[in-house]
């Protein structure tokens, strides 16, 4: 990184540190922070979308829609979500490969499950063995992302369903009195009004999602936990930068990173809540009115 880094063994302390913290593997650590933030940025809207569909399904009039919705929403209750994080990517991976196997190699003579092996024809591998490394990375990340969206979508569906039920009935009746159809009432009144009731639950959910991101490590993604273990371990004289076991400092760094993330999120949500409470017939809205008067 810096020009003086060519021979680390002769450097004074602060320059050694500067060089050490800018090695290639440390750059990978910093990139992995971006991976965590990317997962958050993608998983949050996806989960919100799935939660929205889930909430609509739970509130649907047709039983055919409502029952799958209820099954989806109650799926996460009672079962630790880490089980889903371990199960879903593996199940989808095998499911996709099996489907591709049936489609692409209809003449394959051997069964897919042989004893404890799961063998599909080479053309059905997902991703293909010949694909470059980044395809494997993207596929792994997508599976993890889907698992997160699925689990947190079920949580969000609970929250959004509660929020939709909390919108005062009188406000919906006003819509009906103006002659709006069900769809119009939903779009013009229920949807804008529910956010103030949903936000406390959603902000809690965001915090939980943030704190669930280190579980990426379990899904084989090279995230901050992976690099903290990797870089912190004792480095003997064979390495350019020898140091004793520093893992505790690396994990302290990871801990501080997450504390900062939740702290900033809390600040943002407090401001957002103040905005949404503006002019609402809730305790929060009442407090804002009193403060202004």
């Amino acid at each position: 990184m810096f020009t003086f880094c060519s021979d680390p063994s002769t450097l004074p302390d602060w320059q050694w540190m500067a060089c050490y913290l800018t090695t290639g593997s440390h750059m990978a650590l910093y990139r992995s922070v971006l991976v965590v933030l990317l997962l958050l940025a993608l998983a949050a809207p996806l989960a919100l979308g799935m939660g929205f569909l889930g909430a609509l399904a739970v509130r649907a009039q047709s039983r055919l829609v409502r029952l799958p919705g209820l099954a989806y929403v109650s799926m996460v209750r009672g079962v630790p979500d880490i089980i889903f994080f371990l199960f879903v990517p593996l199940a989808i991976d095998q499911g996709v490969e099996y489907a591709r196997h049936r489609l692409l190699c209809p003449d394959w003579p051997d069964p897919v499950r042989q004893g404890n092996d799961f063998i599909v024809c080479p053309a059905a591998k997902m991703p293909l063995a010949t694909d470059p490394a980044w395809v494997h990375d993207v596929w792994g990340f997508s599976l993890a992302l889907f698992a997160f969206a699925l689990v947190f979508g079920a949580f969000a569906a609970n929250t959004l369903n509660g929020a939709m039920a909390a919108v005062p009935r009188a406000q919906l009746e006003t819509g009906e009195a103006y002659g709006m159809t069900r769809a119009q009432t939903f779009r013009r009144i229920l949807l804008p009004q529910m956010w103030v009731y949903a936000l406390p639950g959603l902000s809690n959910l965001w915090m939980i999602l943030t704190k669930a991101t280190p579980l990426l490590f379990l899904l084989g993604i090279q995230d901050v936990v992976f690099w903290a273990r990797e870089l912190g371990g004792q480095k003997t004289g064979h390495y350019a930068y020898a140091h004793p076991d520093w893992r505790v400092w690396y994990f302290l760094g990871v801990l501080v990173f997450y504390l900062g993330l939740t702290w900033i999120s809390q600040k943002v949500f407090d401001r957002l809540m103040a905005r949404l409470n503006h002019g609402q017939a809730t305790a929060g809205g009442e407090a804002l009115r009193k403060a202004a008067a």
């Binding site: 009672g78 979500d81 579980l215 076991d245």
Partner: protein, 279 residues
């Protein structure tokens, strides 16, 4: 291949150690469904162990921290707030790693305090180290719940206590504490459920499963990796946890009824399943 009876006999206590069952776990093509049922159930012993002890110790510390946070003195209030922020603001998963790596740095021979030498090796084992982390973690979450309950104790109750001349410890013991518990109990039930769920993280973080003594999810993952078939082991461990969750709801419901027994039926606090899913 084990017969079903053999599986139960050799595996149902295996999570306690090799002395209590088969020396080696079933592997490869020898794995039967009965093996999975028995060994994963055996792992539940550790989940219950961590949950029960962490909740019991955590209950005491949480009461102290909640009182600290509610105290007007900055000397009590600041550390309590800091403790709660530290453990609620960071992922439990990272807390496990951090504490484990800190414990690893302790000298292997033990710490000498004056005359006596305190051994350190046992602290790195999951039964002690992970329990310690879970204990601190649940204390922070529970303290926040108890603090909320302390703040919502009806003014009339504490004024009535004053009118009867109750002060200090007697007021706390007879009025403040029971009312706090009664108000906090539905949320505390949720905390207990999610602490139980969080115990599955222990053997997936830094703490190694010594001699393959692991929890239910550790064994489920072992079977999923051995048979390359996730469709038996994971649904099974999920089912076990649904049953355990229902048990927790039942047990905490009994306590809730006792805490609310003096109130008219309509005024009683009801348990609602409110998500507080991961930590």
């Amino acid at each position: 291949m084990n017969t079903c009876a053999e599986s139960f006999e050799t595996l149902i206590l295996r999570s306690l150690g090799r002395e209590y069952g088969a020396r080696l776990l079933p592997s490869g093509l020898d794995i039967t469904v009965c093996d999975q049922v028995a060994l994963i159930a055996s792992g539940l012993i550790w989940n219950v162990y961590f949950a029960v002890l962490a909740l019991s110790f955590g209950f005491v510390l949480a009461t102290v921290v909640a009182l600290g946070k509610a105290s007007p003195s900055a000397w009590l209030n600041r550390p309590a707030r800091g403790f709660i922020f530290l453990f609620r603001g960071s992922p439990l998963f990272v807390q496990f790693f951090f504490v484990y790596e800190a414990l690893v740095l302790l000298p292997r021979a033990g710490v000498t305090l004056g005359e006596i030498t305190v051994p350190t090796q046992w602290m790195m084992r999951a039964w002690a180290g992970a329990l310690f982390v879970l204990f601190l973690n649940t204390s922070a979450y529970t303290a926040e719940i108890f603090h909320g309950a302390l703040a919502s104790i009806p003014k009339g109750d504490s004024e009535a206590a004053d009118a009867y001349g109750l002060t200090g410890w007697r007021k706390f013991r007879r009025i403040t504490w029971p009312t706090m518990l009664r108000l906090a109990w539905p949320s505390y039930t949720n905390e207990a459920i999610f602490l139980l769920h969080a115990t599955t993280l222990v053997f997936f973080s830094a703490f190694p499963a010594w001699q393959q003594m692991g929890d239910a999810l550790y064994y489920a993952q072992y079977f999923a990796a051995q048979t390359f078939n996730p469709f038996i082991a994971y649904p099974l461990v999920g089912l076990y946890f649904v049953l355990m969750t229902l048990t927790v709801i039942g047990l905490f419901g009994i306590v809730n009824r006792r805490l609310n027994r003096h109130l008219p039926r309509a005024a009683r606090a009801r348990f609602r399943f409110r998500p507080q899913y991961i930590r």
